[in-house]
């Protein structure tokens, strides 16, 4: 898995609450069987009109914001469907981090599996970043601090997820190291093995 340590970039401001994963990647693009190449479908219906032409009023179509690696968002980002395609699209487009006051649980989890750091900041801090959108933000995962315009904004993250991201670890490999404990559990517990008998 891809590592994350420090990312320094300006942010793309996406000033909407409750952005759901149906908007992040619309359903017509969920039929692919690969993990790659979803960046071109990111926010597809917001980026393009019904004739496939870019909508001038959408942030991702504004040259000014091109190549920025941080997305700045509002409350409850990533709500709705569990589709990991949303995280794949955000990463594939070039984002390394999303800053928001709150995230939906499944999306939050999916980010860590794909080298994306979701950063929860206080609502006032997020407002501050929105009102200074051309400011460089440095997100330092080891220190758990986002620095912007001289302000240091601390954020919480649990140690386990932090370690996975910092070291780019494969969580399946880690879990398989506990194979003995899993086998022991299986021996002692009833998992109601289905039987059609």
């Amino acid at each position: 898995m891809e590592r994350f340590t420090v990312v320094k970039s300006k942010a793309v401001p996406l000033d909407r609450v409750n952005v759901d994963t149906d908007q992040i990647v619309p359903k017509q693009f969920l039929k692919l069987i690969e993990r790659t190449g979803f960046g071109k479908y990111l926010f597809y219906d917001w980026r393009f009109d019904s004739n496939g032409r870019p909508r001038a009023d959408f942030v991702l179509n504004n040259e000014k914001y091109a190549h920025r690696q941080i997305m700045l968002a509002r409350d409850n980002f990533g709500s709705g469907s569990s589709r990991e395609h949303a995280a794949w699209a955000i990463r594939d487009y070039g984002f390394r981090a999303v800053i928001a006051p709150s995230f939906a649980d499944i999306f939050y989890n999916n980010c860590f599996k794909n080298g994306i750091l979701p950063v929860r900041l206080h609502k006032d801090e997020v407002d501050y970043l929105f009102s200074n959108e051309d400011m460089e933000i440095e997100i330092d995962l080891p220190k758990q601090i986002a620095t912007a315009g001289g302000r240091k904004l601390g954020f919480e993250i649990d140690d386990f997820r932090k370690k996975l991201l910092l070291e780019g670890l494969d969580s399946i490999g880690l879990t398989l190291e506990l194979d003995n404990q899993i086998a022991e559990y299986e021996k002692c517990n009833n998992t109601f093995v289905p039987s059609a008998g």
Binding site: D15, R16, V17, N18, D20, D22, Q23, P26, K27, Q28, L30, K31, L32, I33, E34, R35, D45, S50, R74, D75, N76, S79, G80, S81, S82, R83, E84, A87, S102, F103, A104, D105, I106, N109, N110, K113, N114, D158, D159, F160, S171, I172, T175, L176, L178, Q181, I182, Y185, E186, N189, T191, F192, V193, P194, S195, A196, G197
Partner: protein
């Protein structure tokens, strides 16, 4: 619990893993790349539901890309030894409909699926979680999942519905989401409790738990009781004989302690609850059928971000504040989805459909949740009631809940839908979705606009 650590996530054992075609191909690829096997194929079950057509099953699938995904699932199940209920199986259906139907969903078990509506299975007192594709791969390989201990959130419903045919479990849940918001349950697991929940049938409890995710919760549960055990008894994969009796004895021990303390709690009375209809683009944007499309200022109660969201929602939905809900005219009606496609949902809808005709301005379809539901409905003659009224009677699947198959709204079309999400474009790019119960959607199909079904029943 396989492994527990203070201050970090615990390793949770997974008793049932349900798999479908959309969120699994990349997970199976990951296993292959790393030479990993599926640890417990006998605890893993798959079906094809999200993008299968609901037209005649003997015809080839027109959509080539869907077809590739469906074939990939068949190939993966064969290679990894997983039981698959494919498109031609008599047990095919929406993954959250067939799990309970086949007795795969049991009280006290952990259930995961790469689908956010896995919360449905919580109706049995199972701990059921929707997960992403990387987690699907992790569970396939290890039969376990890392998880932080969620917060507990008691949602208590008291009172008796005055008209239980007209005011349904769907209305109860839409009302809850309307009140606590689409992020109200973030980080939490709901326990739905109280007299009004105990009174519900298992199918109705599934409708409630299904939409836990629409309030942001990780999962939703109802304590198992006699209704639960009766439902499970005799199901194909459920324990049998002595095994069943032992299981029931264990399941009876699962209910929450009466003095338990929850991290959060809310309580609602449903005695005077009205049928609910969504007006906006998230499932918290809901009003009584007797109400009006709200003004964004009034809706947002001083929160500027929510006000902007409401303005945008009204623009997308092409609605004016102050419009009575019953004046909203519809082009389409969809009865189906993992929320409302079970036998009772269809039977309830038939109460208002029988002897009436679908409005000439409306195209209405019924998509049973599974082949078993479809068969049972046909044996009860429900298909005839629907067809005589002018509804399309289709094959089972997710269908127009998310429009991955050919069942979609055209841009600008307005639909009364028994599904769970009214997000922009959910049922088709540019389509406009109003969430409602099966009986409300059926009545709307007949009149061509929303009506208060309490006047009909």
């Amino acid at each position: 619990m396989v492994y527990e650590k203070q201050g970090g996530p615990s390793l949770l054992y997974i008793d049932r893993h349900l798999v479908h075609e959309v969120t699994s191909p990349q997970a199976f690829d990951g296993l292959r790349m790393n030479n990993r096997r599926v640890r417990r194929p006998e605890l893993t079950f798959a079906t094809m539901d999200h993008n299968v057509p609901t037209s005649e099953r003997s015809l080839p699938i027109v959509d080539q890309i869907s077809s590739v995904q469906i074939e990939a699932l068949a190939k993966n199940c064969k290679e990894f030894g997983i039981t698959l209920f494919d498109m031609h199986s008599a047990d095919q259906g929406i993954v959250h409909v067939i799990g309970p139907e086949l007795g795969l969903t049991l009280p006290g078990t952990t259930v995961v699926c790469g689908d956010s509506h896995t919360s449905t299975h919580g109706a049995f007192g199972a701990f059921a979680l929707g997960i992403g594709t990387s987690e699907v791969e992790h569970v396939l390989a290890t039969q376990c999942m890392w998880m932080d201990k969620p917060k507990t959130f008691a949602v208590s419903l008291s009172g008796k519905r005055r008209n239980p045919h007209a005011v349904t479990a769907k209305d109860m849940m839409l009302y809850i989401i309307r009140n606590i918001g689409t992020a109200g349950g973030t980080g939490c697991v709901f326990e739905f409790r109280g007299e009004a929940i105990s009174d519900l049938s298992m199918e109705n409890r599934m409708t409630i738990c299904n939409m836990s995710i629409e309030a942001g919760a990780r999962a939703g549960l109802v304590a198992p009781d006699e209704k639960t055990f009766d439902f499970v008894a005799g199901k194909r994969y459920a324990p049998k004989g002595d095994g069943f009796d032992r299981a029931v004895a264990y399941w009876k021990s699962l209910a929450t302690d009466p003095n338990a303390r929850f991290d959060k709690s809310v309580e609602f009375s449903i005695s005077s609850l009205a049928p609910q209809v969504s007006w906006g683009t998230n499932p918290g944007m809901v009003v009584d059928v007797t109400g009006k499309v709200p003004d964004p200022d009034e809706y947002s109660k001083g929160n500027d971000n929510e006000r902007k969201a409401a303005v945008r929602a009204l623009e997308y939905m092409s609605l004016e504040p102050g419009t009575p809900i019953t004046d909203i005219r519809l082009d389409r009606v969809f009865i189906g989805s993992c929320t409302n496609s079970r036998f009772e949902d269809l039977a309830e809808a038939c109460l208002v459909v029988k002897g009436r005709r679908v409005s000439p301005n409306v195209r209405a379809m019924v998509v049973p949740g599974s082949q078993q539901v479809k068969l049972a409905a046909e044996q009860a003659g429900l298909d005839i009631v629907f067809k005589d009224a002018g509804f399309e009677w289709r094959e089972s699947g997710c269908s127009m809940c998310l429009g991955m198959n050919p069942d979609i709204l055209a841009p600008g079309e307005r639909c009364a839908s028994t599904s769970n999400r009214n997000f922009e474009g959910r049922q088709g790019t540019g389509g406009r979705t109003h969430l409602a119960s099966p009986v409300m959607a059926a009545a709307a199909a007949i009149e061509g606009h929303f009506v208060d079904v309490r006047d009909w029943l």
